[in-house]
């Protein structure tokens, strides 16, 4: 019952923020203009602006936010570690490297799926590397150190690839891949992202019961009949699909998957399985809000959205580390 109320409240919040997101942009349209533009099939400028510029942006914020929130909650459950998050542990950065290779060296122009497949390959490699480096026992220290290494390597390789890319703009676009942005993406991106994220979400959702059991410890989970190898595979592959697709179209947006599960965990009775769905909704709401903020803050060039999520998330992360210090060796 309480879970249902929480889900409804979060869904309502996503809905309200989505409406606000459709209403905000450099061209003032007014609520009436936005609604008219949304259902206008004549191709008028207002219709083009709402349907082809603001709608994709809003939908992408929801999809990417949900993927990040969900993946964060799932990784925290799998690694038994509250500091796990796709951006912090280097999954996003590795996905960005994969996407950069696919985009700047011509693969993406051969086939539209090449870009997200590149991103997913990067995310998958990072997921596998983390699992191997951090071990199954969930030592916070080992995980964070592994994350630092994976992050640094992926960021260096991305910068190297962009410096070697033939495009005159490539080196300037490092900041997009590191910080992310939802500006001027199109419905084509939304369609591709949704098609690839959906199976990722299903995989992660199918791990919910296993994650609940794992919260009691690996031994207890095994005795409850949970196949740990399969559980592990589901979460890592699901995260690779969801985060790989997200980063391919919007760059690496950090800390959403860290902050959201944390805020919601007390509300679902600390059950990792039950945390998944609210985290997805909460991630969507947080990213919508952040994307509204980057459009409303008056800067000459629009702020990258990852700048904002990092400004919110990094102090949060520090607080978590201070809390975790008591339990660290």
């Amino acid at each position: 019952m309480r879970a249902l109320v929480l889900a409804l409240v979060l869904a309502g919040l996503v809905g309200l923020l989505a409406l606000a997101s459709l209403g905000v942009g450099p061209v003032p349209l007014g609520p009436g203009g936005v609604i008219a533009g949304l259902f206008d099939a004549s191709g008028s400028p207002a219709a083009m602006i709402v349907q082809e510029i603001r709608l994709p942006r809003t939908l992408l914020a929801i999809l990417v936010g949900a993927s990040l929130g969900l993946s964060g909650a799932a990784l925290q459950g799998l690694l038994l570690n509250p500091l796990a998050e796709p951006g912090v542990v280097g999954v996003s950065a590795s996905a960005a490297f994969g996407a950069v290779i696919a985009f700047y060296f011509g693969l993406a122009s051969l086939h539209p799926l090449a870009l997200p497949v590149g991103g997913m390959a990067g995310a998958l490699a990072a997921g596998a590397a983390l699992r191997a480096l951090a071990g199954a026992e969930g030592s916070a220290l080992a995980l964070i150190l592994a994350g630092v290494a994976v992050n640094a390597l992926a960021a260096a390789l991305t910068a190297l690839a962009l410096n070697l890319a033939p495009s005159p703009y490539a080196a300037l676009e490092i900041v997009f891949w590191m910080m992310g942005s939802l500006a001027d993406r199109s419905l084509v991106h939304v369609g591709l992202a949704a098609a690839l994220m959906a199976p990722g979400w299903v995989l992660i959702a199918s791990a919910a019961r296993g994650l609940d059991a794992l919260a009691l410890g690996p031994e207890a989970a095994r005795s409850l009949g949970v196949g740990l190898a399969l559980l592990n595979w589901r979460v890592v592959a699901g995260t690779a699909l969801a985060v790989g697709a997200a980063v391919s179209f919007t760059g690496g947006i950090a800390f959403v998957g860290l902050v959201v599960p944390h805020l919601l965990r007390p509300l679902v009775g600390h059950r990792p399985g039950r945390l998944l769905m609210p985290s997805a909704l909460g991630g969507a709401a947080l990213l919508l809000a952040a994307d509204l903020a980057v459009r409303l803050i008056p800067t000459a060039a629009e702020l990258k959205i990852g700048v904002l999520t990092a400004l919110i998330g990094a102090p949060f992360f520090l607080r978590l580390i201070l809390g975790a210090r008591r339990t660290l060796p």
Partner: protein
């Protein structure tokens, strides 16, 4: 005991002699034509390629060979390219260096300390400024006659296109990667005006080189959208916005024209071709015929 100046073997004393030679050489006199000219700036490259005798050019910038930016990229391939670093330039022992006024400040300062004559040029923002620049660089290269010929040629071509003043000028706008456009006081502003277009970016209040969001571009509705020719081999997020469906769909899609960026990255005689092509498109538009 050896004297310090002779202790370093042949290479070092060679460098010392070069340094002494550089320090003793008087600044190039205006009357004498320089024999070794180095250009460090894309727009200066274009002028040097047009004006200098082939034997006069010691090196051009790397960008001179880039056909996306340089109108004379093929011609530039016959000359060495130099990195914009003082050490590289000094090694070439030039008697005249041409650089942009606003870039490479530390390099230019350093070159002056080596007593190398440096001519700084501005970005030409009109055909009148291009004429002045041609004449100034022509004088510096001892090629004043050639400079006047080229400048007169440009004026004649522009006169042939004639003043275009249709009763109602259609609007046009340049839209570059990353959403940059050219407003009032730019070379593109004059090119559009000479072709008989009203520059929409200037009407929207953009001065110089400025940014315009995709939303405002669509809301403003230009009759003609002028983009740079895309290069397929070099994908970038910056140019992705030009492929955005919002620019393709809808009932009032502007006519799109892709012109090579090299035509107006710098003012040069090639810029006249941009005027010609745009004037043709404008004429077709006035007759109600579809544009290319």
């Amino acid at each position: 005991m050896t004297r310090p100046g002779h202790s370093g073997g042949p290479r070092r004393s060679g460098a010392a002699i070069l340094l002494v030679a550089l320090l003793l050489a008087p600044p190039a006199a205006a009357a004498e034509a320089p024999a070794r000219v180095v250009s460090l700036n894309l727009c200066a490259d274009q002028l040097v390629l047009l004006l200098a005798r082939p034997g006069q050019v010691a090196a051009l910038s790397h960008l001179a060979r880039d056909s996306r930016l340089s109108a004379y990229a093929n011609e530039a391939k016959g000359f060495p390219a130099v990195a914009p670093a003082a050490e590289e330039v000094v090694r070439l022992a030039p008697d005249l260096v041409i650089a942009g006024r606003y870039s490479l400040r530390p390099t230019v300062e350093l070159l002056r300390r080596f007593r190398i004559a440096v001519l700084e040029i501005d970005l030409a923002r009109s055909f009148a400024e291009l004429r002045d620049q041609l004449l100034a660089v022509g004088r510096a290269l001892g090629r004043g006659e050639r400079a006047r010929e080229i400048a007169d040629g440009i004026d004649a071509s522009l006169a042939r296109i004639g003043p275009q003043s249709p009763a109602i000028a259609p609007t046009a706008i340049l839209y570059h990667p990353n959403g940059f456009t050219m407003g009032r006081g730019t070379l593109a502003d004059e090119v559009l005006a000479r072709a008989g277009f009203a520059n929409l970016a200037a009407r929207l209040g953009i001065e110089g080189y400025g940014r315009l969001s995709l939303e405002r571009l669509i809301a403003a509705h230009a009759d003609v959208l002028v983009t740079e020719e895309e290069s397929r081999e070099a994908p970038s997020l910056a140019s992705e916005v030009l492929a955005h469906p919002a620019l393709r769909k809808g009932g009032r899609t502007p006519i799109r024209m892709a012109l090579p960026g090299a035509l107006w990255a710098c003012a040069s005689p090639a810029t006249v071709e941009a005027v010609t092509r745009l004037a043709e498109a404008r004429a077709r538009l006035s007759r109600g015929a579809p544009a290319p």
